[in-house]
């Protein structure tokens, strides 16, 4: 097979895979626009005959989505801030010091990542309830998410710091700066991209977080959009167009951010891998 033919075949395979992968997303978008009867038509239609744009406004109003999204934003921003402030220092230390204890620390950090949220929620819930944290449910969720996502952030940012040559820091020390000054003046600006990308990934995770929010936040007015979406669905749900409209409103901003920043995100994730 010639090179061009093989490239064409690869392209076709890639397109088919992408189509399969993106189909649920497509289905979400078009279902949101279908009318009640079209939704249940057999065979299903792949393009809405009469797009029902009004569904969005109806769902936004009736479900109080503004409040839900606001809560999601608070939780996501809170988690990202907490993780970034604590995780950057941690990642820096783990990047600059090499000894047995650092290796053990890294191993433990990676182990934390293995434990699923649905397993961790019971002890976290009991612990928080003992501490009275359940009176501040959104803060409790932020702390729980921070604990869960911190390892991921630390491992990514550590790689970023390791890509910053140590000689630059030494040059700054000789030039008259202190350790702390060299970190803020030299290392941090150079690691900024990696930190930003990791923070965005954490933000997207936290924005869609469900298990902790569902378990910890009882008051409807404090729940994030993920829990709101869940409460939309019951055993006899048939308003799929409304649910899909909700989902569309919920995920489109995140998708937009990802598409806009995807080049930087990908280059951030692989930086240090090449050079």
């Amino acid at each position: 097979m010639s090179d061009t033919n093989r490239n064409r075949l690869m392209l076709v395979i890639a397109l088919v895979m992408a189509a399969i992968y993106l189909f649920p997303l497509y289905w979400m978008f078009i279902t949101a626009l279908k009318s009640g009867s079209e939704m249940f038509a057999t065979p299903p239609s792949f393009w809405p005959s009469e797009p029902q744009w009004g569904t969005y406004a109806f769902v936004w109003e009736s479900r109080g989505m503004g409040r839900y999204l606001w809560n999601s934003l608070i939780i996501a921003f809170g988690s990202v801030t907490l993780i970034t402030v604590l995780g950057v220092g941690c990642a820096y230390v783990l990047a600059r010091y090499r000894n047995v204890w650092v290796d053990i620390g890294l191993f433990l950090i990676l182990m934390l990542q293995v434990l699923p949220a649905s397993l961790m929620i019971t002890p976290i819930f009991v612990g928080f309830s003992q501490l009275g944290m359940l009176n501040y449910p959104r803060l409790a969720v932020i702390i729980a998410i921070a604990a869960k996502s911190m390892p991921f952030f630390v491992v990514l940012v550590r790689a970023t710091f390791m890509a910053v040559p140590q000689e630059l820091e030494e040059a700054a020390l000789v030039d008259g700066n202190s350790r702390v000054g060299a970190f803020f003046n030299i290392v941090l600006p150079l690691a900024r991209n990696g930190i930003l990308v990791s923070a965005i990934l954490i933000f997207m995770q936290a924005f869609g977080e469900f298990v902790y929010s569902k378990s910890i936040i009882q008051a409807v007015e404090l729940q994030p959009a993920s829990v709101g979406l869940n409460s939309f669905m019951g055993p006899n749900t048939n308003e799929w167009n409304n649910i899909m409209a909700y989902a569309t409103i919920y995920v489109t901003p995140i998708l937009a951010i990802f598409v806009l920043l995807q080049r930087r995100i990908v280059s951030g994730l692989t930086s240090g891998a090449i050079k």
């Binding site: 030494e170 040059a171 020390l173 000789v174 030039d175 008259g176």
Partner: protein, 355 residues
């Protein structure tokens, strides 16, 4: 002369590894000192200890008369040029140059003026607004140098600054660094693994091996009177020939074992019958008319660069000869070679020390 840098009894351990062993070194103000040795000899560790990037385990380290053992780098007032240049990638050339001044709170206008002055002397005036990634290797090297000289430090430390440049530029920068040193009246410590760099640039060469100073002194002193076999082999290019030998009955001749025993006359008295190693520099061995030489040697390999011919003999202990005359030599020839008695170095067989 005042002592600008003084090291006495300095030791450095990394766990069980003894990296610097009892270093004694004193550097007068205005001197250019080269630390030279094979990789892993401790020369970079010594330099980093001077900078304060490594702490020494025992001993005293003084800069301009003040004890600096536990003083952090920023308070030592020294400047360092790194092998990788370590230019701050997110700063322009001007910001790189003025970084140390800005940290010290020098007003902006004054820092800018200083940068312009330094840039004028190092030929960077047109490049002040550029970022390091937009510069060539030689230009980066110049920025690294300028960053060091902008603030008149107590000493300059160079960590193999020329090793990333191509050969022609390296020879050029060698002169430029030395000129700069002389003009500033600076005190410089220069680490290199290239003995030619050390010999050509420095007033004082320190040869190190395995954390020990093997010998220190003026470049030609090291060349003429190497203290031991290691220094003899390290200084000079191509390297000195070492051949097993025995002192003759009269104590004034050497029976040298190159294929067959041949005798060289010495200009000094040695213990008769003692087993030694003779050191013969390739450039001290000269062609002579048949029958007049001290050696008769079979020719193995002939390499000619035009300016000189490198001849390697096909004897058991290989001998290299550098000949600048264009006398034709071919593999398999037998040549007659002579050496002046004063040019014969003799080392103890066991300790390797000069006799």
């Amino acid at each position: 002369m005042t002592k600008q840098i003084e090291l006495s009894g300095v030791n450095k351990y990394y766990g069980a590894f003894h990296a610097l062993k009892n270093i004694e070194l004193s550097i007068e103000k205005g001197r250019f000192v080269a630390l030279v040795g094979p990789s892993g000899c401790g020369k970079s560790t010594l330099l980093r200890s001077l900078a304060g990037l490594e702490s020494i385990s025992t001993g005293d380290l003084k800069i301009a008369g003040e004890l600096m053992n536990n003083v952090p780098p920023r308070k030592r007032d020294i400047a360092m040029v790194f092998q990788s240049y370590a230019l701050y990638p997110h700063m322009t050339v001007e910001q790189n140059l003025t970084y140390s001044l800005r940290i010290r709170g020098v007003p902006k206008a004054q820092a800018r003026k200083a940068a312009e002055e330094v840039a004028a002397t190092t030929g960077l005036s047109q490049l002040l607004g550029r970022y390091p990634r937009e510069l060539s290797g030689g230009q980066r090297q110049r920025v690294a140098m300028s960053r060091a000289i902008i603030r008149d430090p107590k000493a300059f430390l160079f960590d193999e600054p020329l090793s990333n440049l191509d050969a022609a530029l390296r020879v050029h920068m060698r002169k430029e660094i030395r000129t700069l040193h002389d003009r500033l009246g600076a005190t410089s410590v220069y680490v290199t693994h290239d003995q030619i760099e050390a010999m050509t640039m420095a007033d004082h060469v320190v040869v190190m091996k395995d954390g020990v100073i093997e010998q220190q002194g003026a470049p030609l002193e090291l060349y003429d009177r190497p203290a031991n076999r290691f220094v003899a082999g390290f200084i000079g290019s191509p390297a000195m020939n070492f051949v097993p030998a025995m002192v003759g009955e009269d104590g004034r001749s050497l029976a040298v074992d190159v294929g067959e025993k041949q005798t060289i006359v010495l200009d000094r008295q040695l213990q008769p019958g003692r087993k030694v190693t003779a050191g013969l520099r390739p450039e001290h061995l000269h062609f002579v008319e048949p029958g007049q030489g001290v050696f008769r040697l079979p020719v193995g390999i002939v390499e000619s660069t035009g300016s000189a011919t490198y001849i390697t003999t096909s004897t058991a202990a290989e001998v290299t000869i550098v000949e600048t005359s264009r006398r034709p030599v071919r593999t398999g020839d037998i040549i007659d070679v002579s050496i002046r008695p004063a040019d014969v170095h003799v080392f103890d067989d066991q300790t390797g020390l000069r006799i």
